[in-house]
Point group: none
Chain length 251, copies 2
Amino acid sequence: MTITSPRGRTEMLRPDGSPVRVLVVDDETSLTELLSMALRYEGWEVRSAADGAGAMRSARDFRPDAVVLDVMLPDMDGLAVLGRLRRELPQVPVLFLTAKDSVEDRIAGLTAGGDDYVTKPFSLEEVVARLRGLIRRSGAAAVRSESLLVVGDLTLDEDSHDVTRDGQSIHLTATEFELLRFLMRNPRRVLSKAQILDRVWSYDFGGQANVVELYISYLRRKIDAGRPPMIHTRRGAGYLIKPGEPGDAPR
Amino acid sequence: MTITSPRGRTEMLRPDGSPVRVLVVDDETSLTELLSMALRYEGWEVRSAADGAGAMRSARDFRPDAVVLDVMLPDMDGLAVLGRLRRELPQVPVLFLTAKDSVEDRIAGLTAGGDDYVTKPFSLEEVVARLRGLIRRSGAAAVRSESLLVVGDLTLDEDSHDVTRDGQSIHLTATEFELLRFLMRNPRRVLSKAQILDRVWSYDFGGQANVVELYISYLRRKIDAGRPPMIHTRRGAGYLIKPGEPGDAPR
DNA sequence: GCCGTTTCTCAGGGATTTCACAGGAAGCGA
DNA sequence: TCGCTTCCTGTGAAATCCCTGAGAAACGGC
């Protein structure tokens, strides 16, 4: 079931109408807090645990629909936790967090089912998108929602990563794609550069804030070129995307 | 009966519409968990047992449509379990898991009845494919046809392992075949290198992640040569397969 | 056991993507 | 209109990602 909330975003709900539940397991509290905030903002109910024991307790009485699990934990390693979780919650999809350099000690066979993983440092957009994908495909939320975002004549498919405007296919780089996804998931809403930076860039990004301007510029060139513009600047506030009005001068 | 679920994949169902049931018997819990996840993701209902006694209990009250059975079990050996299973579930097909070096002809005798086997370490794609074949042929799921995957003018027959593009037969090696099957079972969906590695390569593969790139390269040479390309790279995300657009430049 | 086939590692090179920097354009208030 | 601030975007360097040839090792059929 998908409903549109008053604030204009689509939310995932369980069959009984209650919000989707996500359990976050990581020993870095700054990370669990960051994630919890982002996931709550999605309208999900979140509980977090800092170690394997806490994770098992939460699994039992919180009964989450999805789990975010750091594979490196202090008391028992992530794999042990995974095993116990699987026994407690056999159906629940897991999103693994893993360090960049452990790409080689790749989580062999962990993503067996519909599971997925992201490498640290990640962007919140990425984590949220993957979680949505996992939950959607697991059917836990009975949200057989489409993977297609539509704003005016602009479409973005989260499964195939295809983007089209007015039927014409548009090639985007990975960062451009995430930025556009974030805009399109919040249509007609002003998003500040800080918000965009926090969501689309990885949490340890230390660069210049004007990358956002730069990527907005890239997107405009690809999305708005020769058409009524959909990406608008609110000076001093941020950017927003909305369907192009035919009356508007093409860009 | 075969239906296409909202997530775009075909599922097997029993004549009464309930999901197919599979019993997994192995004493290595990490393996039963791995398999359970993968099989659940197929939309099947799974129960697992760690020994012969548990297997018999599950056979009686779970009434599975297929059994995955490790021939090496702690309490009684797989053959004894098999005999008891056969008495309890005379019609049910069995997929044997066997160590690489075990006597092949003994297994050959076992699989005479239409059963099948895979050697450890296996890939999840392989186990799932074999199981699908067994179930399809047993008639439990009332699915008789449907061994043919089709994407555009590309076809892959899971029974005969024949692959054709535009009517022309294409020879693939075993690994190439499994990779293509995985792509074709998830058309128009971006699959990350990690997902591909976890699904197509055996669970204990510890090698370089760029084998995936290599095999994509092999596949392209055979599938896309001189034709509109069907295998596409999404830089920073993964690969996907989709029907070639006639307008696309041939490769 | 031998020989063709298949799998996989390694490494170079090429193409793409990301990002910093900086000059210029555009908006805004007085 | 002027001056200040904010935003836009060209340029280029560096990093990253991907492709593929060559060859070693493992496998399989006979």
